[in-house]
Amino acid sequence: MGELARELPVSRPAVSQHLKVLKDAGLVIDRRAGSRRIYQLDPQGVGALRAYLDRFWSQALTAFKAAVEQGDEEVS
């Protein structure tokens, strides 16, 4: 967390507050390593949306291919 605070134009407590919001939102997870606290993006968080959209776009593009190859009657 100290590394993040050094890079940002806000105070260390402010960084701590922002990280807490991100953690409560399920976007990051943290762990303690000695005196340090390590934050990383929660793979379960963004991962869930990614998995959903992976599935969605696979289906959508398959349907798109069918529509494109169907002939010209549906798009002028």
């Binding site: 409560d24 939102a25 399920g26 976007l27 990383q40 993006l41 793979p43 379960q44 968080g45 963004v46 991962g47 869930a48 949306l49 990614r50 998995a51 959903y52 959209l53 992976d54 599935r55 969605f56 776009w57 696979s58 289906q59 959508a60 593009l61 398959t62 349907a63 798109f64 291919k65 069918a66 529509a67 494109v68 190859e69 169907q70 010209d72 549906e74 798009v75």
Partner: protein
């Protein structure tokens, strides 16, 4: 792919000229968009993709309602189109542009009757909180595994 990746990529090759692939993707969006994927209260009557940068993509309900869920950010026929994804994790229209992701679609000609379509849905981290619902949707019976099986079957059939 690393766990911190905030994009989803997909691609497909279609047996059609690049101009037609572009036209069907945009003007013809309602001929292929999965019809259950809309957030109107009413049943879906149709979809409109406005063919210009600054335009919008919107769904129309059978009751006359509209849902404007995307802004057209780039419109470059027949090579490229970019639109925003203004839907939040509660399946509502997101009005805060800082919390929207974007979809870029590139069309690459591989011959007179063959086009590769490459799609990237990126900046997904901007959608913020509320992942539990999305996670639930993915974990349901109609999740991921079913989608992949359908995709594989469709790919074999063509």
């Amino acid at each position: 792919m690393p766990a911190t990746d905030t994009s989803v990529r997909a691609s497909i090759v279609v047996d059609a000229p690049i101009e037609r692939a572009f036209a069907v993707f945009t003007d013809g969006i309602e001929t292929w968009w999965p019809p259950e994927h809309h957030i109107l209260q009413a049943d879906l009557a149709g979809m409109t993709f406005e063919p210009r940068a600054g335009g919008q993509v919107y769904d129309r309900g059978v009751d006359g309602s509209e849902c404007r869920w995307a802004r057209v950010l780039a419109y470059e026929p027949p090579d490229r189109v970019v639109f925003s994804w203004d839907i939040n994790t509660q399946w509502e229209v997101e009005t805060d542009r800082d919390k929207t992701s974007e979809v870029e679609v590139r069309f690459v000609s591989e011959g007179t009757d063959r086009t590769r379509v490459e799609l990237e849905h990126r900046k997904l981290d901007r959608h913020g909180d509320g992942w539990e619902q999305v996670r639930g949707a993915v974990g349901s019976d109609d999740g991921w595994a079913v989608g992949l099986r359908r995709f594989a079957a469709a790919a074999r059939a063509t």
